[in-house]
Amino acid sequence: MSNKILAFIESKDGKFKNSAFEVITEALKIAEDSGSELEVLTIGSGLESEINELSVYGAKKIKIVDLNILNKKYDGGEIKYSPSAYAKVISEIAKNAEANIIILSATSLGKDLVGRIAVKTDSAVFNDCIDIKLSDGKLTASRPVYAGKSIIDINSSSEKIVMTLRPNVFKPEKTENSSIETENTDIENLGISGSDFSTVVTDVIVSNEKLDVAEADKIVSGGRGLRGPENFNLIEDLAGSIGAATGASRAVVDAGWRPHSEQVGQTGKTVSPSLYIACGISGAIQHLAGMSSSKCIVAINKDKDAPIFQIADYGIVGDVFDIVPSLTEEFKKVLSN
């Protein structure tokens, strides 16, 4: 078992993402169980004022690679992100620290990096983990496959492992507030050159300010029962009343009523929020696969035999046009008290 674990955490708009705290909490558990030392790494700028947030979750040391300094190694202008360069930075720092375990979150960025880091560091990949166990010094990870229709346990004979944690599954845990040591990492000895920037992100377009289903703790999804795109305001209102993201079934995405980014299911996103409300969704097997690991499932459908009710924790048999607006009002009422 390694005596060093490297956790890579992400920030957005100058703040650490919730996934950062999830990664730190789980990495710290593995470190404690295995008698290893945890180092936390991030790439960004302007994060100094946020560092104390991390100590709340028990991180004792953070390495910061300044994005502006990293960008100077690229001669093509200002960039937001480069998967090739990030993978190099993380891999080189892991090698220098002799960290055999690298942990990231299975976000867009984490998924973009994990395969690259695995090849660069000659590591096995445990991706999209929902549970991690350590016994006799060996890690076993559980992850959903076939979009959640089954779950596998994986291990590896490799000394080196890079893993990603599915967002929203591991709960951040606050610890006794301790101090945190910050190291501004010098990238000069990492051997970064222009050729490491073979793929660069020059701009990011925010398509909406709403929370993405992949990151949301609560999701309200609509299906064909809504009868048309013009009726999705009912879904948006219900989502708005409880601070949820809006999702959709494949049928309504294929029909062009909703964007693919909202699609939940086997050819969309697999989600595990604490609350999933399915409105007018019958529950095709490929949809159920993508959301059945949600902690609490509420189904609203006028067909009492709809498959969605078989996996629901709570359900109301009724017309979405009748139930959804009333549910929105009830949520607003109880939450305003």
């Binding site: 690259r116 090849v119 779950i151 291990n155 590896s156």
Partner: protein
């Protein structure tokens, strides 16, 4: 323009998964295997690139004879050639796939190498980026828009709540996401033409999985949900339970 599109087969998304007797894989006896849905976007994009720039489209699969289905569907859509790198069995991880594909791709001088962003069985998104590292080529994953002009590549990549504008150069590896295009349906003529296209078989280059599946199980079954049948009248009780019992509101 030489275009390689890497394809794979997956169980149809309507498949109800049963675990096989070995406890480490699915029981494939009643499963119908199809071209991975995301690979359809990759094949379509490959064909569009050929239509615009000329050249050829080579579909490449790694797997057992069963994987020929993916190549046949690619032929029906319009791929020119098909290559099957034959695995010994079904027990291979993303790294083994990436190593074998890389070994084939490295001598091909392809301009663009397309993949579906992920297969819908193991949902890894690993193979394109692993191939890119093994071959030291740029890679853009989860691509919903692709422009290639004078050797320059500009793509839009889907991320949480938005898109990244990504720039790169040829040769490039692309992971296709739904929304990149509308995959064509094979017509009778292309289905007939596909029948005469031979599949070139290449022997396995690499074995040596890095990760091992030690157990596969079905997710815990849910039962005993509280289903209300009085419509709107039940809403206050539902909301009370969500707050007090489930504690999610």
């Amino acid at each position: 323009m030489k275009i390689i599109v890497c394809v794979s087969i997956v169980p149809d998304s309507t498949t109800k998964v049963k675990i096989s007797e070995n406890g480490r894989s699915i029981d494939s006896s009643d499963v119908s295997y199809i071209l991975n849905p995301y690979d359809e976007f990759a094949v379509e994009e490959a064909l569009k690139l050929k239509e615009k720039n000329g050249g050829e489209v080579i579909a490449v699969a790694y797997g057992t004879d069963r994987s020929k289905e993916a190549l046949k569907k690619s032929f029906q859509m319009g791929a020119d050639k098909g290559v099957l790198i034959k695995s010994a069995d079904d027990n291979f991880d993303s790294y083994t796939v990436a190593k074998n594909l890389s070994e084939y791709i490295k001598d091909q001088n392809a301009d663009v190498i397309l993949f579906g962003k992920q297969s819908i069985d193991f949902d890894g998104l690993l193979v394109p980026s692993m191939v890119s590292e093994i071959l030291n080529l740029p890679c853009i994953s989860v691509v919903v828009k692709l422009e290639i002009d004078n050797g320059k590549v500009k793509a839009e990549r889907e991320i949480e709540g938005g898109k990244e504008i990504v720039e790169s150069s040829l040769p490039v590896i692309i992971g296709a996401q739904k929304g990149l295009n509308e995959p064509r349906y094979p017509n009778l003529k292309s289905i007939m033409a596909a029948k005469s296209k031979p599949i070139e078989e290449v022997s396995n280059f690499y074995s040596g999985n890095k990760a091992d599946i030690i157990d596969m199980k079905l997710p815990p079954a849910k039962s005993g949900g509280k289903i209300f049948t009085n419509g709107k009248e039940d809403i206050p009780e539902l909301v009370r339970l969500l707050r007090e019992e489930a504690k999610v509101i």
